[in-house]
């Protein structure tokens, strides 16, 4: 009868310090848990972490690779932060990214003779529209028929993947690729310039930084952003105040889809210079961006930091896969654990646990 009891109580208010602390502790616990996984695979976790850090941030090369991976994560993550703020759970950014790659790639393959100053902006615009179009399906289903956007947007990821596969195995397969499922290489005008000696396609980076700032200002300093925040926090109050919540749901889905689509353009025009099967275009940036947005506490400006951090972990993860002969899936375990712990940690910012020692 004298066992201590654990009581869960709702917090009245969450301070900023509290939520930062919860985030830090969650990350630490996630690393501990992942350490257990490493141990079970026979790898010294401390050594593994050191390798990850060194791989992602320990050299100029590592940093540049982290930055290159941060670009699609930032573009997609900032858009998702916006959508999540309106409590619209767009889980299908990966598919929207692939659609952006298709449209951007299609333009690159067909209009390679255009001057670069025209071609590249048109590709990004097309990628935005492609991603937005893909997000329009769950958006309209949600706004018209109240269909859960989590399901529809996620399912469309697989459709998008098959669409890419169909194109690179079929009509868009490059004749000179000797049967491999690749499109022809893009014309030079359709390829993004890099920082000297790296894979950092800086036009996309600048675009991503600008858009993250833009979305932050949109949320905090405009009437539309106010409507988005009210819709997310209390949709009943939004409707009561005469806001068109359906319009806002559609808008944030289109915007987040469009940004993911631009990320897809960045990948094909900045890294691969061709279309390839979906796994080749994106190793799951659209899903990893969910972690980026969540770690940033759904603040688009903070995604700049978290995208770089996660980008570094991806690079470090690649490094240890090779160096320690770990299975390729370990990096997904890594990412999954981090998201799990961060979201679970959120609970403690809203509730407090109390240990009761008396009976």
């Amino acid at each position: 009868m004298n066992l201590p009891r654990l009581q869960v109580e709702r917090r009245l208010h969450t301070s900023r310090l509290m939520s930062t602390l919860a985030l830090a502790v969650s990350l630490l616990l996630a690393l501990l848990a992942i350490g257990l996984v490493f141990s079970s695979l026979g790898v010294d976790p401390v050594y593994a972490y050191r390798r990850i850090l060194r791989g992602g941030f320990g050299s100029l090369y590592g940093l540049s690779e982290s930055l290159a991976k941060a670009i699609p994560l930032l573009l997609t993550g900032a858009g998702l932060a916006l959508a999540f703020r309106a409590r619209v759970y767009n889980i299908g950014a990966e598919g929207q990214l692939l659609l952006g790659a298709i449209v951007g790639g299609g333009i690159a393959l067909n209009f390679g003779h255009w001057p670069r100053e025209v071609l590249l902006p048109v590709m990004f615009l097309g990628g935005f529209l492609g991603g937005a179009l893909w997000a329009a399906v769950p958006a309209l289903l949600k706004a018209r028929f109240r269909v859960d956007e989590v399901l529809t947007s996620l399912m469309l990821v697989y459709v998008a993947g098959d669409l890419v596969r169909y194109l690179v195995y079929g009509p868009w397969r490059g004749p000179e690729e000797r049967g491999f499922p690749y499109s022809s290489r893009f014309a030079l005008a359709a390829q993004l310039p890099h920082l000297e000696g790296t894979r950092v396609h800086y036009p996309t980076l600048l675009l991503a930084l600008g858009l993250a700032l833009f979305l932050y200002l949109l949320l905090e300093r405009t009437k539309l952003g106010y409507e988005i925040r009210v819709t997310g926090e209390n949709p009943a109050a939004a409707r009561y105040a005469g806001m068109n919540t359906d319009r806002i749901i559609v808008l944030v889905l289109l915007l987040s889809g469009g940004l993911a689509g631009m990320a897809g353009v960045g990948e094909v025009a900045g890294i691969h210079a061709r279309l390839s099967p979906p796994e080749g275009i994106s190793p799951g940036y659209g899903f990893t961006a969910i972690i980026v947005a969540w770690l940033a506490r759904l603040n688009p400006l903070a995604t700049i930091l978290t995208a770089f951090l996660i980008g570094g972990l991806l690079v470090g993860g690649d490094a240890i896969q090779v160096a320690l002969n770990l299975p390729a899936a370990s990096i997904y375990i890594f990412n999954g654990m981090i998201l799990l712990f961060v979201i679970a940690g959120d609970v403690f910012t809203r509730y407090r646990l109390r240990l009761e020692l008396r009976s």
Partner: protein, 552 residues
């Protein structure tokens, strides 16, 4: 000249149909004559009390909900727990039922010290609780709900359970069809299922949390019959209420709570409503508001033959018609659930009208979206306050929830933070909202301050029509007075106000005219004068319908 009726008279009316309830006063044993304290000592010496709570303290972040509370409930009595909203009654009973755990204090059931860790523990000790919000599974039958959670082997012996339930229902006058599904039942019937649930679990001590709040007068009468029957059968009842007439009508003894403390334990037969009211609020409660002659002007709102469906697509309003004029308060009285919520939602555009017309200042609003109605001059403080607020956002941002579109708060799509802040500061000062600052999230404000802030926001747009629903529910006496004063001031300034409230006292205090809503229909519209009280009561119970030409 419309004299404000004394709230007392309203209260005493409310229970007049069930004066049989007063017979219980005679059942108080003659031996109960010493003071409550001495009584308690005597009782504990002979028959231990059914419930003894001593020094119970429960703290929540920022408040002491229960402060060293002593409560003694004798075996076989009906004990009223009286107090205003927030006095700590429900918290105390949730402790007794094992939902909360006290920070300090001890509980004895029939003299035996106990630790109640969960409702299961409470049920094992023979304690049952009827919550204000029923805990039933809507799609299940009555029988299934009653036996839910009872571990009696793996098979569900439905026929046996049904027979037991029918026997219980018959013995305690709890008429309800054991095969009906919960969603098909009225609030009163659902409450009967809750009581059956407790009886089926062999509860000897039954806690009822404001059991009359959702009931029609007829259902209240039935409930009282059941309670008396339970007393006859030897059950001990604890009856949470904030209504004085209920205390005097059915309880043997009453414990009064104020701000988390016990202020008095009295024998009901030896006290009266006035004395109880003073104990409850700690000062003279009967504030008489000066309602001056209305300067009624032109028609502001005209509602004609309005038909509306509820969430289940069943008719909620069936041909409702009324008008509200400048400078008057039209009160809509009625027991909760007779179409009030649907009426408010339809007027502000959140629910479509199937048929009929809504006309504001000559402009037809029927089926225009909410925004168009806000711009046409309708303001609304809904009954569920949190649907009109964003709890996690600051007061400043909440104060512009409707007005943010105006160019005063930023041009070309931008939000001018400084204008938003100035607006909030102005309203906070004008309406004396108590808050650490405009950046405080509204969820941290007290109920009274939230209501002030809401009224401030809604009135800041200078609306032609203000709709207020249950504006003082959950507020303490001081906050209630403030809200009432604000509404009467607005009326004096010529505002048209539509007041929808289940609190008859409130309707009678404020309204120039009173329309009674019963099962989606207006039963009649009369002047808000005390001598109409009886007719209003009959209309609320559906027993009187005034012909249209007699409406005022």
């Amino acid at each position: 000249m419309a004299l404000p009726p004394s709230p007392m008279s309203v209260r005493s009316w409310r229970f007049r149909p069930h004066t049989n309830g007063r017979s219980c006063e005679a059942t108080v044993p003659a031996s109960v004559s010493a003071t409550a304290l001495a009584e308690g000592l005597m009782a504990s010496a002979s028959v231990p009390p059914a419930v003894l709570m001593r020094g119970i303290t429960k703290r929540f972040p920022g408040v002491v909900a229960n402060d060293r509370i002593d409560l003694e409930v004798k075996e076989g009595e009906i004990h009223a727990l009286l107090g205003e909203n927030g006095a700590g009654k429900t918290t105390l009973m949730n402790i007794l039922y094992g939902i909360y755990h006290p920070d300090e204090g001890e509980i004895r059931i029939r003299g035996r010290p106990v630790v109640i860790r969960s409702p299961q523990d409470a049920i094992r000790l023979g304690i049952g609780m009827i919550h204000q919000q029923f805990r039933l599974v809507p799609t299940h039958t009555v029988t299934e709900n009653v036996v839910l959670g009872m571990k009696r082997g793996i098979l569900f012996r439905e026929r046996e359970a049904r027979q037991q339930i029918e026997a219980l229902a018959k013995n305690y006058h709890l008429e309800v069809d054991p095969d009906a599904r919960i969603w098909q039942l009225s609030a009163g019937e659902q409450q009967r299922v809750e009581i059956l649930k407790a009886l089926y679990r062999q509860a000897q001590i039954l806690i009822l949390d404001e059991p009359t709040s959702m009931l029609t007068p007829g259902e209240i009468e039935d409930l009282l019959k059941t309670l008396h029957r339970m007393k006859e059968e030897g059950h001990t009842l604890i009856f949470i209420t904030h209504k004085l007439d209920e205390v005097t009508a059915i309880s043997d003894r009453v414990t009064v709570l104020r701000q988390g403390k016990v202020v008095a334990t009295l024998e009901t037969a030896k006290t009266n409503e006035r004395e109880l009211a003073q104990w409850m609020v700690g000062r003279e409660v009967l504030f008489r508001l000066n309602r001056q002659q209305a300067q009624v002007g032109e028609t502001v709102l005209r509602v004609e033959n309005l038909h509306v469906l509820n969430d289940k697509q069943l008719p909620a309003l069936k041909g409702v018609s009324f008008e509200v004029h400048r400078g008057e308060i039209l009160g809509i009285a009625g027991v909760a659930g007779n179409g009030q919520r649907e009426l408010v939602e339809t007027l502000i555009g959140l629910r479509p009208a199937v048929q009929g017309a809504i006309v504001l200042n000559g402009q037809s609003l029927t089926n225009l979206p909410p925004r168009a109605r806000i711009e046409a001059g309708i303001a609304c403080v809904p009954g569920e306050r949190m649907t009109a607020l964003v709890p996690g956002m600051s007061i400043a941002e909440n104060m512009v929830l409707k007005a943010y579109r105006q160019s005063a708060f930023g041009k070309s799509g931008l939000l001018d933070r400084r204008a938003v802040n100035d607006h909030a500061d102005r309203l906070i000062a004008e309406y004396a909202v108590i808050t650490p600052g405009r950046d405080t999230p509204v969820k941290l404000l007290s109920g009274g301050n939230i209501q002030r802030a809401l009224l401030a926001r809604e009135l800041s747009s200078q609306p032609s029509l203000l709709i207020v629903a249950s504006p003082t529910s959950g507020l303490d006496v001081g906050a209630t007075e403030t809200v009432w004063k604000i509404l009467l001031e607005q009326r004096q300034q010529g505002r048209a106000i539509l007041l929808i409230s289940e609190d008859l006292e409130e309707v009678m205090t404020l309204s120039d005219r009173v329309a009674v809503l019963y099962e989606g229909e207006i039963m009649g519209i009369v002047r808000g004068e005390e001598n109409n009280l009886e007719r209003i009561g009959l209309m609320m119970a559906g027993a009187l319908r005034l012909p249209r030409e007699e409406w005022v």
